[in-house]
Symmetry: C2
Subunit: 121 residues, 2 copies
DNA sequence: TTTACCACTATCCTTTTGTATACTACTTAC
DNA sequence: GTAAGTAGTATACAAAAGGATAGTGGTAAA
């Protein structure tokens, strides 16, 4: 057999480092619920119970947890209105909207992938 | 408080559907090991034990499992050379290389995210 | 004959992730 | 007083992902 291409350790080192930010990006979209929550908020600001209704199957616990995570990543803003009863509004930050291009890239690849996997079975 | 923007059910329906391909794309990169394996193979074809060496911490079991998954998604090609001892070479398919743009998009966002989280964090 | 390399597989265990269900605290409407 | 709506939390459990360790079957070198 042919000799396989040697790995260049330097390049690989650089590369390993460059994996970390990719992981970060994957992490903010990871899990079962973050994507639908983010997309729900891309269509407008929502209250807790509104999101719960729009994201089918999610429990309060998961919604609460995911929103806290998204908030800690600056992607979602939580605004409390001290009306009665108290109302909490969630909105995507401008930064959160910067995920749109990322999601679009993923979707484009995913659409092509679906087609490919269908024809080949 | 202001009235929050109403959700348009049609748009949301369309949108829900469009989540599926995004999930597909996330799935092919999901888990702890697929990304480093793919990136390792972007630098050239490798044998099983070579990848195991280059991806620090991975066990044979996980490597085997992930390679099978990548192969079933057409991203990686497995070639057996019946030399003695038998040698198996893994390579990224052309399709596998199409992930480069996706990974680049994720990395760019991730780099910006790291910076942002550092100054504020 | 023991060791080592090749490419795995099998079993068991821990950790992480997500689910189910009930509960808190407050106010208004019936 | 009881239900319903606001926004959650607490506890216990199930499922999925991943890790540790050992074993398979072949060759070949020491």
């Amino acid at each position: 057999m042919e000799k396989t291409k040697e790995t260049n350790p330097h390049t690989w080192g650089e590369c390993t480092k460059s994996i970390l930010p990719v992981r970060d990006a994957l992490e903010v979209l990871s899990g079962k619920w973050k994507l639908p929550i983010i997309i729900s908020l891309m269509f407008g600001n929502k209250r807790f119970s509104q999101i719960a209704k729009e994201v089918p199957g999610i429990t309060d616990k998961m919604l609460s947890k995911e929103l806290r995570e998204l908030e800690s990543n600056d992607l979602v803003k939580r605004t409390v209105y001290d009306s009665i009863p108290v109302v909490v509004e969630y909105s995507l930050t401008e930064y959160g909207h910067s995920l749109e291009i990322v999601i679009k890239t993923l979707r484009d690849w995913g659409v092509a992938h679906r087609k490919r996997m269908m024809v080949e079975g």
